[in-house]
Symmetry: D3
Subunit: 247 residues, 6 copies
């Protein structure tokens, strides 16, 4: 059930049976020569909608711009500063707390968001922790990267072995090809498999990873793979969502 | 051209011919008994994509949550504090400035965003204005409410007369029915046309406008109207976009 | 009754009969070749004191520096960043809420303040809206531009026709000549009536409006006009204040 | 020369001979049973205007609301949080730096501002200190309490001995009686001379100093004293201003 | 070489041969019935000094209070909000950047710091990434948890097997017993090995882990173990530091 | 009793007899040719531990980095911006308030901290003062510079006369020599006694005080003096602490 597509009386009804909600969060950043700038938001949203259908969970609008400062050397990348993203996550959660939601399950499409969103959860918890006998409601927040189920990991290993890499991976690119078949394409990349390494700011990133990829070969991506990856992720993430709200 | 659906080399190419970009911005808030919580973001995005197709402009991801504090009395509404939204707009623009974008055209779906987004533009301009001989690039930002063209106003007057109102209007609800026909429905509303008035915080709003509408009769909405409203808005907003980037 | 000129027991007494207060807000910025840098604060304060006398309302100290980033290309202009002005408005209101004030009526002298002050009101409302069952008091805030009554608009049309313009207008300059007759002067301006147009940051503003005026001919200003403008504005604004506190 | 009463070309002219400016800063807070809520802002402004006339210095608009959290137990008191006041001072100075001002002389009327304004100066200096080879201009800021000259201290000792106290003092009250003779009055106070002591928040302050005074007997105040106090302060502060800008 | 124990000319000399610096960061929080409140700061500092001696690296003062909101249910725990800790890390690094330091190696004693400090690094990088052709220096930051070397992990496994747990671990408690032998003690704990689990805010934490421990049996701790743990950690962390500054 | 060296049940016990706590605060900044960069934090901590032993007071971890923007012209100096330090002080106090502490006694080693820490106290008080009938606990905070007792002042006068100065003083340097005898050294300084004067930002400071000292001759320092200075300060500060918590 997508929050954007229902009415407020529908939400009122929903809250009688559940106080859990799913919030997709991605990023808007380069994904190498043939990956889409929207990859991380599109995949998080796609899987979140699948999980919403499977579990009946309400799905909030996607946070499409995340923490991507290191990608700013490539045109089209957009970042929120960590301090801004913390405020965004806080305001989303506090708004929903007002209505009675207590379990916030973020389905994440971007590794670069993990630290900041985790810090945001602590910022929210801290408000309550700092006041003895606070009457603010007790809430639980969880960040779930869509690719981290054991089945998802096994599938990516089977499909791509050590060419999966860690940015602009064939897994995520396949997912977008499945969603938007007209974007499927292969382009010459040199070397075939991108280098691995670490990075700090945007210039440092671009000089180490000149075409944007890290350790990956996204020319292996296909829409057919994307479908399998999607189904596996939805199944595993749905299971985790249900366990989370049951706690 | 949707930024989310292209690659970074595509954006690099685009920047050779234009430094303008469209950013849809909406809200996530109640829209009365039969209007969708996502109305303002969905309509802004829908029209922005239409304008993008018509003009060749690049369209950034939608800012789906805006300033909607007054709607928090109704389940499902989400707000950013004004100070948060200012930071979000600033980070989006500064990221895109880094790539060479200089004309930022926000297509807006929510009256409650106007003041804060306008303040955000001033916050960005102020950075440069406060430094004599700044070497930050000079940029221009514009907020365009999709419903404010003369043709759009005339059309809404023709279709709904004085039952258009100012929140949960039949115009915006028609647009969403056109986008998502499965959501089209009429529900009993009492009174038929909602009251007008002013409001301050969420409790005040809800006590004045018990079902969420202001001055409107959204039971007049149809998908067929939505199509006409869409086409008119795309045409007028596209014209304004082209004039804006030509300055 | 000016807050600055009474004692705290006087305020305690006042609160027994009214919880409304007037806060004048202006700006410190260039007003063309013969207009005063303090025009917007001086006029707002002048009219606020008149309204205070007419209605018995308490008048707080003037916020003399507002949001004027676009004027920084002209010596003497001072701005608060929008984020700072939001904090200033919030602290003023929260302080007065503590004493029991609930109706905050800002008399405004500067168009550039409108968006930011409106955003500030939402920032304050949001604090309460974000908490279900908040025990913070419910308050109402209103921004009233002194020149926006129908009588004031008609008077300026009669006196100046299409030479009123929108910055460094003969209306506001006349008001300051009435307040401070020793500042009345005419100076050569070229062209006689300034151009109209839009602007972004300070450099952009100065290059479009080289002497600071927008669309106006302030050489039409006289102290005698100022008196008529003053009396009309006081009457209309006083009426609006009384209607506001009666709600 | 009051900034509010001149035009931008006048300021341009002024900057050819001086880059110094005076900024009066006060507070809006209770001043005991017969002292005015505006005392600290009125006195700072009054003396600043006197110093401006004597020295030819430009005088900016008064910052009328300062840091007065401890007075909030008394109706009419308004405070800026320290963090807000820091932003206000920073924006005022950065705006004026843009025009070429480099010497900022704050004439202060309120002891409670000293710590925060001093911190604000450090916040401004820090921006430049944190960047090696910064191209931000080097500036100097000074806070001068109007009552701290040796002559002013001697005069208050002569007039009031150990009944001067430290809040709602007969010196400052006399100054306001001189400025606004119609406000001159004596009221019964018990005890005649208020207690001394320390305080933390507003409740603590009010329970220690029930009528608002600290250590003072403001019934000794007269407008005639005020004139002598004014003249002494103007003379001493003017001397300090000239020494400051000559450095 | 401890920064606190040298003079500025010593630092000037140091910078001629290295631009790397070590910053210990810990926490002030409960560590179960027999662990010290200062454990995380004391161990990080102790190991950092060891690494400094072994490598000749300069060691900055310890950040003793970290992000520990979840421990506030136990007396003595202190937290910085994530937003505050981000500002602290930023100011430390920017100050040192001014002197020419470019490699910042944080030796961390507290798992709860990881997300926030990582976000802080991104906040710093973002400043540079957001400006095309920024002239801010390029820097690299790294967070190294002292317990994460393969040797350290093996040692803890050998000594404590599955009674190491994840908070108030026998490893960290042994380290503090080695540093401060007078604090060594065993106390009755029930159950012997604490439960595992997750947590959100402080009340949630305390109700799940009533004596503060997570999954651990700190009664296994001895000062003799502490010495072995210390030596292993210093060796491994020193190696990583040298590799880091050589990049 | 050092907070870092006790367990949470020890703190729980302590709170049954006292709600006072000592927080040492210093700085990390140049102290001339032979003074240590850590002088202000080391001395504050040293004396705080002495006071803790003498009075039985609990001593929190030292805030080692303070407000030292003016020293950034000398390698090794680190500053927090005032706004950051305010947040740090606020978070420390709010954490401890949660446990029931109500009396916060900061032992300070650095003049540059005074304004900002005082502003921080007001920021904390303001939270409560701004809410009528707040249920936040009432607290008291005090900043005590270790050198300000009458005995300490007399001792420094006896030992160093007018060569004490105000930065890198022989008193504070002697204290560090007493604590860390291996750091005792004399180095050629020219002139023998440093100049006096004022300063603004870091470049201004360094050009006025080229070796970092202000008005002092730290070559007079000895460890033996340090011992006398230490004992005097501990005695006087302990007395003030006991008086403070008794209020
Ligand atoms: Ni990705
Ligand atoms: Ni709408
Ligand atoms: Ni004006
Ligand atoms: Ni006063
Ligand atoms: Ni630990
Ligand atoms: Ni010192």
């Amino acid at each position: 059930m997508r929050l954007q597509l229902v009415t407020w009386p529908d939400v009122e009804q929903y809250l009688k049976t559940s106080t859990g909600i799913i919030i997709p969060i991605g990023s808007t950043e380069q994904h190498g020569p043939n990956g889409l700038v929207g990859t991380d938001a599109l995949t998080a949203e796609f899987i979140a909608h699948g999980v919403g259908e499977k579990t009946g969970a309400l799905v909030a609008p996607t946070i499409s711009v995340g923490m991507a400062q290191h990608h700013l050397g490539f045109p089209g990348s957009i970042t929120l500063r960590p301090s801004t993203l913390i405020a965004v996550v806080r305001d989303n959660i506090q708004s929903l707390m007002r209505h009675g939601f207590t379990r916030f399950f973020f389905i994440n499409g971007h590794g670069g968001n993990i630290a900041t969103v985790t810090a945001a959860f602590s910022e929210i918890y801290a408000e309550r922790s700092l006041q003895r006998g606070s009457n603010a409601p007790s809430v639980k927040c969880k960040l779930r990267n869509w690719w981290e189920g054991s089945g998802s990991r096994a599938l990516s290993r089977d499909l791509y072995g050590n060419q999966e890499g860690s940015h602009a991976t064939p897994s995520e690119v396949s997912l977008t090809f499945y969603m938007h078949p007209q974007t499927e394409k292969q382009v010459p990349m040199e070397p075939e498999v991108a280098p691995n390494g670490s990075f700090s700011d945007a210039d440092d990133y671009r000089s180490t990873f000149p075409d944007g990829r890290i350790g990956s070969n996204p020319n292996l991506s296909t829409a057919a793979h994307g479908r399998r990856i999607y189904e596996m992720a939805v199944e595993e993430v749905a299971r985790d969502y249900l366990a989370f709200v049951a706690r």
